[in-house]
């Protein structure tokens, strides 16, 4: 079952790299959250620590699949811009980069023979992290950057799941990073910057003086 979820996750990663509409980004982030919920559930359901299982699984569902997408949606409403108009890289090349990243993550996961980590998870996690990074470098607008960070942090979460049954603490710290990134960045963005700049372009930040 895990492999089905991971493949679907991979498909969302490819689509997120070519997506243009903010709405699509939100949908994909929500789908990723739901997939991670199922993945966390099936991966951790064998562990004996019931409290940590319940915490991790509910946290994934509530934050990744519901709260963050809702928050993103409210940001979109405030921005009054529906899609990405300029990119640092054309979609064709970012997709090529993502494909390359997929190959690299397979080779890397194969080379790094870390004991007790499931290789499938390792590949998926590396691929997710790379895709997040590519999203960040391929875009100029803040919103896709945000999505890039969310994807990146989904990757970190997946890493922690790969060793999850043995290291619940790492899982929890991954979740803390999750909360940190989403709440802090989104909160700052929605309440402070979003009102001033519609459709903010990160390149404008380079004109700022000390």
């Amino acid at each position: 079952m895990n492999i089905v979820i991971i493949v679907l996750f991979g498909v969302t990663l490819m689509y997120v790299s070519v997506a243009e509409r903010f709405d699509t980004y939100v949908k994909l982030v929500a789908i990723q959250g739901i997939l991670l919920f199922f993945l966390a559930f099936s991966e951790l359901s064998g562990s004996k620590d019931m409290a940590s299982l319940v915490f991790v699984v509910t946290e994934t569902l509530v934050f990744k699949a519901i709260a963050v997408p809702l928050l993103l949606r409210s940001i979109i409403k405030k921005m009054r811009v529906a899609k990405v108009h300029t990119k640092a890289l054309p979609a064709f090349y970012s997709l090529l980069l993502v494909l390359f990243a997929m190959g690299v993550s397979v080779v890397l996961a194969d080379m790094l023979k870390i004991g007790r980590i499931e290789k499938t998870f390792m590949i998926a996690a590396l691929f997710t992290v790379f895709t997040g990074l590519i999203l960040v470098i391929a875009h100029k607008k803040i919103f896709p950057h945000l999505v890039g960070f969310l994807v990146l942090e989904n990757g970190v979460f997946m890493f922690s799941l790969a060793v999850g049954s043995e290291m619940p603490f790492l899982v929890n710290s991954g979740i803390l990073l999750d909360l940190f990134a989403s709440v802090l960045i989104l909160g700052l963005f929605a309440s402070r910057i979003g009102k001033r700049l519609n459709d903010p372009n990160v390149e404008e930040l380079s004109t700022l003086k000390d």
């Binding site: 089905v4 493949v7 991979g10 490819m14 070519v18 494909l99 590949i123």
Partner: protein, 303 residues
């Protein structure tokens, strides 16, 4: 052996009729009969063809070559875990290049007319054909890799009986085959067969000069290609061990679902901008490569 071939021929008669019917129902019309596209082709067959003075023999033979190429490539596609009409090692390469040959002659014929519109269409068709080919070959390569066999007949005999995840792979590749079929047949979202503006056409603008009998052949080629891809879909989804009766039922179901799906997709989706097509087509290859990784995991090369 011939059952599969006949099924492909029969299904292709109805396929586009169902698509059109679904499209008209989705837009609130009653729609024409399911057989209407085929009747239109029959009507075209009764007409003669008009040829431009500037075009050469190439232009006259191209539609015939195209349909023969498709009919020939259909010969290597098996049905129900049986043998195809003929099969040999590496026949999926033959399959792909027979289809490519058909497309190539159509492109050459379009260039032969000397019309700048048709040149533009040929240009686009070449690009899209080029970009969709890797997706097909990655898919067939993966199937060949996990079964260890190299012909359609053998691959589909062995597929679905190995491993627990071959259903997953089957579904992934079915999705891919549907998308490839849409591109090959110049349907949405890459091309819109209903457009009336030459500048936005791809396949339609290539065949602007074809009329009468030739146009009928070209339409028939599209029908046949849909039948062909329906058969490949059936082979991917239905286990080859099932009895032949069930297989025929499954094939009918696949044709019905596939055509309804195409109809719905075309009703609710807009054509891509031209510039968006290359990344879209690259997504197909990406899905194929994802299939490759799944296959590597299944046969435990990297797990």
């Amino acid at each position: 052996m011939m059952v599969g071939y006949l099924l492909m021929l029969i299904s292709s008669i109805f396929f586009l009729g169902i698509v059109n019917r679904i499209k008209s129902i989705a837009s609130g019309r009653k729609g024409s009969s399911v057989l209407q596209p085929f009747r239109d082709v029959l009507k075209l067959f009764k007409k003669g063809a008009v040829y431009s003075e500037t075009s050469s023999l190439l232009f006259r033979v191209a539609p015939t070559v195209a349909i023969v190429a498709v009919l020939t490539s259909m010969l290597v596609v098996p049905f129900a875990g049986g043998n195809a009409v003929f099969s040999f090692s590496g026949d999926f390469v033959f399959f792909a290049y027979m289809l490519a040959l058909g497309r190539f002659t159509m492109i050459i014929a379009a260039l032969d007319t000397g019309s700048s519109f048709e040149g533009m269409g040929a240009n686009r068709e070449t690009l899209y054909g080029l970009l969709v080919e890797p997706a097909f070959f990655v898919m067939m390569g993966v199937l060949a890799m996990i079964t260890g066999l190299t012909s359609f007949t053998e691959i589909f005999k062995a597929f679905n009986t190995i491993g627990d995840y071959s259903l997953l792979l089957g579904l992934l590749f079915s999705y891919l085959v549907i998308l490839i079929a849409m591109v090959e047949n110049s349907r949405l979202p890459v091309d819109d067969p209903k457009t009336h503006l030459e500048l936005t056409m791809v396949h339609e603008v290539m065949i602007l000069d074809n009329s009468g009998f030739d146009l009928g052949l070209i339409h028939l080629t599209t029908f046949l290609k849909f039948g062909l891809y329906s058969m490949i879909l059936t082979n991917l989804l239905v286990p080859p061990t099932w009895a032949i009766g069930y297989q025929v039922v499954c094939f009918t179901a696949v044709v019905a679902v596939f055509s309804v799906l195409v109809g719905l997709l075309e009703s609710f989706r807009a054509r891509n901008k031209m510039g968006k097509n290359p990344p879209y087509l690259l997504t197909l290859t990406a899905l194929g490569l994802l299939g490759l990784i799944v296959a590597l995991l299944i046969i435990q090369k990297i797990a």
